[in-house]
């Protein structure tokens, strides 16, 4: 199994695809984080925000 992967990767072409792939992964991830933040409940955010100030 591993030798099969190794054989494939040793001769892998189009390595330049990696930077593009990386960028796409990040954009997707970042959009996800933005969406996550957007739908956060305001009241809850306010209560978490004040946690350091509680004694």
């Amino acid at each position: 199994m591993f030798s099969f992967i190794k054989k494939y990767t040793e001769t892998m072409k189009d390595i330049n695809f990696y930077p593009i792939f990386s960028l796409l992964v990040f954009v997707a991830f970042f959009v996800g984080v933005l969406w996550y933040v957007k739908v956060m409940d305001k009241k809850e955010v306010d209560s978490i925000k004040n946690l350091p100030l509680e004694q």
């Binding site: 990696y18 990386s22 970042f30 933005l34 739908v39 956060m40 978490i48 925000k49 350091p52």
Partner: protein, 705 residues
């Protein structure tokens, strides 16, 4: 709801705080010492233990892991308990963590001057200490997670996310980068070689900055800045974006330390793109920190703690603007290997880490001692000394950096290099002196802080166990209506840990795995052969002495470099280099082709130069290595070393190990004989012979037919 009574553990916080300030002063003193070694090289290099090459790693390790490390734990132990409304899980684990960490620091302080070093920057400590670090780090993580599990607060404030990401990422970085094959208690070889070792090292090195000097301190910023300003963080939502974007991006950025090197181009490109994008979350975080003070700027005038914090966050902003800029190839071509980088890291280290640490210390110590700060006036004096110290440090180093790059790259009209390397070294003398003055100012401030803090401690009484009350956490969490499925991550530490792990693994894996597996990335060169036993021993002395702290072994493909140093470096030339020795700074010239072409010198030249560099090169700041003439080469290790190299895949013939010393002596005697012709009587079994053999070998392989 019924309130439960419990106590916060302040004793561990106090212990880490004291360790922070003491190790801070120690680490900065060593820093000042190495800075002054460049001004007074013959007086302040005390060979062999206190030569620049051995002390510089001591300085970097001390300020990173002893000063900032203890600062992290001080802040985490204080804030974690309060944010989770519970005592730390186990006093015993806290104690093991504290004393274990101090023991590691002491071990580093002893072994590094002894020359026990892996020569991988910021990871120089040898394998037994690496194991100890792993154990203590696990103790820290265990204590932290168990505390999170027994918490009385449902939500995990963003500071804790930063702590969790720090824990998990540092664990991964340390484990992967420390893969090494021990040959004795004090010597090991990096499992990786050449380009691969370089990539792993700088993936580690950059993320040591990211996940040791940045993410935990951002957690501290998100807790202590609202505390000191007595108002919540400007935008909690922004802090979440800051967190995820930062940890995702940082892990990819390592290759920007290797631009124009023999690292495959695609990996360099990834490093550049992600480093550049880092500016956005970093500045988001800086703005979030500064805007926390909105409406409270009048307090900044009065409150010295806020002053420290504002300078810290501003320095964070400056260095995280500069970092992405330095990652652009055109700027990197100028800045890399120069003192510009030293300026950059010190704006981060002295400004961001230093100032935030002092701000937190001044805030925290009076609180756990139930007293006032001994002297606000002294703290103000400290503030100004530190701020001026940073300027006096950074400005000469920026200037020096531009000047070096410009002098290295200038040609005359007839197409010759305008300056000898040595001229660029002697030109630096006033800049190095001014930088040392900056160091004196900053260190004086730190000593004043030490006095102020001990006086504060003297006038108060430690509340070792601080009483607190909070309702117990409800066992069953009732979701409120309309709650999104993803809310779970803010309440559950384990998914948060796993998510952070996945996020940081993606970047590491995409960069590292292909560099290891794809053969075309490291084209082999048939004429590149393993080192001879004598050269291998010489190389290990080069590693021991920390020569990489001043000399690179990486010729970049610029005309100014190929003219000066010869053919640019190829990935295939380093396949037997465990560890790689590309270096990151050129206080001295590049040595990649020291044994070849125009750079080749006689054995006698090397002997005299190592014995007294400034006698050969007037104005040289290199320490004397005369002790190498006295020290016998330890040949008992030769077979072990050859066998270890064979295990790592270096193609020495089977059965060569027992015969290696015979070959070693033949070569050593040849060198001794050539020295004798020039009137130098030195036995063939001395360390200097091995070092000469190694230097003469450097860069010669590709010229062999």
């Amino acid at each position: 709801m019924q309130l439960e009574s419990f106590q916060y553990d302040n004793k561990t916080v106090r212990n880490f705080a004291i360790a922070t300030i003491i190790w801070g002063v120690v680490g900065m003193t060593v820093g000042l010492w190495v800075a002054l070694q460049l001004v007074f090289p013959t007086v302040l290099n005390l060979q062999p233990y206190f030569n620049f090459g051995r002390l510089r790693p001591l300085h970097t390790n001390a300020v990173i892991f002893a000063f900032v490390g203890n600062g992290i734990f001080m802040g985490v132990y204080y804030s974690l308990q309060r944010l989770l409304k519970t005592r730390m899980y186990s006093d015993t684990l806290s104690k093991i963590h504290f004393w274990g960490w101090q023991l590691i620091i002491v071990a580093a302080a002893i072994t590094l001057p002894l020359g026990i070093s892996t020569a991988k920057e910021y990871a120089e400590l040898e394998w037994p200490i690496d194991i100890a670090i792993t154990v203590i780090w696990v103790v820290f993580g265990w204590n932290m997670f168990a505390t999170i599990i027994k918490r009385r607060e449902r939500h995990l404030y963003v500071a804790i996310w930063f702590y969790i990401a720090t824990f998990v990422t540092v664990a991964v970085l340390h484990l992967v980068n420390s893969f090494e094959l021990p040959i004795s208690l004090f010597k090991s070889y990096s499992w990786y070689a050449g380009v691969q070792d370089a990539l792993v090292q700088w993936w580690y090195g950059h993320n040591a900055v990211a996940f040791f000097l940045t993410t935990p301190y951002l957690g501290l910023m998100y807790y202590f800045m609202p505390k000191a300003a007595n108002r919540p963080v400007f935008s909690y939502k922004l802090s979440i974006i800051h967190f995820w974007a930062l940890i995702f991006l940082y892990i990819w950025a390592g290759p920007h330390h290797l631009l124009y090197t023999a690292l495959p181009n695609w990996a360099q490109s990834i490093g550049i793109v992600f480093s550049f994008m880092l500016i956005f979350p970093s500045w988001g975080g800086m703005i979030n920190g500064l805007l926390t003070l909105r409406g409270a700027w009048d307090k900044v005038r009065e409150d010295v703690i806020l002053k420290f914090m504002v300078v810290a966050v501003t320095a964070y902003g400056m260095s995280t603007f500069e970092g992405p800029m330095l990652s652009l190839k055109s700027i990197n071509a100028v800045a890399h290997f120069t003192d510009w980088i030293i300026a950059h890291v010190h704006v981060g280290g002295l400004g961001w880490n230093g100032m935030l640490t002092f701000g937190i210390l001044y805030w925290l110590i009076p609180r756990i001692y139930k007293t006032e700060l001994y002297s606000k006036k002294l703290a103000n004096v400290h503030f100004w000394l530190a701020t001026l110290g940073i300027l006096f440090y950074a400005i000469p180093m920026y200037w020096a950096g531009f000047q070096q790059a410009s002098m290295w790259k200038q040609f005359t009209e007839s197409g010759q290099l305008k300056y000898q390397f040595l001229e660029t070294v002697t030109y630096m003398a006033p800049f190095y002196a001014m930088r040392a003055l900056g160091g004196v100012l900053y260190l004086s401030g730190a000593i004043i802080a030490l006095v102020n803090i001990f006086k504060t401690i003297g006038q108060g009484t430690l509340v070792a166990n601080e009483e607190a009350e909070a309702p117990a956490l409800e066992k069953e969490y009732t979701k409120h209506t309309g709650e999104h499925w993803h809310r779970w991550i803010e309440r559950k530490p384990t998914p948060l840990l796993i998510m952070s792990l996945i996020v940081i693994l993606i970047g590491g894996m995409v960069e590292i795995i292909p560099t290891f597996l794809v053969k075309s990335n490291i084209p082999t060169i048939a004429s590149v052969k393993p080192y001879t036993p004598l050269e291998l021993q010489g190389r290990d002395i080069y590693v021991r002495e920390g020569c990489y702290t001043c000399h690179s072994q990486m010729i970049r493909p610029f005309r100014s470099e190929t003219e000066r140093y010869g053919e640019y470096s190829k990935a295939g030339e380093f396949v037997y280099d465990h560890p790689f020795q590309w270096g990151s700074k050129r206080t001295g010239p590049d040595l990649a082709r020291e044994g070849s072409g125009n750079l080749k010198k006689s054995n006698t030249w090397h002997f005299n130069h190592l014995e007294e560099p400034s006698a050969i090169s007037t104005g040289s700041v290199m320490p004397s290595y005369a002790f190498l003439i006295e020290h016998d080469l330890d040949t008992a290790t030769t077979p072990l070393k050859i066998n270890a190299m064979r295990t790592l895949g270096v193609p020495y013939d089977e059965g060569f190990a027992p015969k290696a010393n015979a070959a070693l002596m033949v070569q050593a005697k040849e060198i001794a004989a050539s020295l004798k012709k020039d009137g130098i009587e030195v036995p063939a079994n001395k360390e200097i012979i091995a070092v000469i053999a190694y230097l003469q070998r450097l860069g010669t392989d590709i010229n062999k037919k």
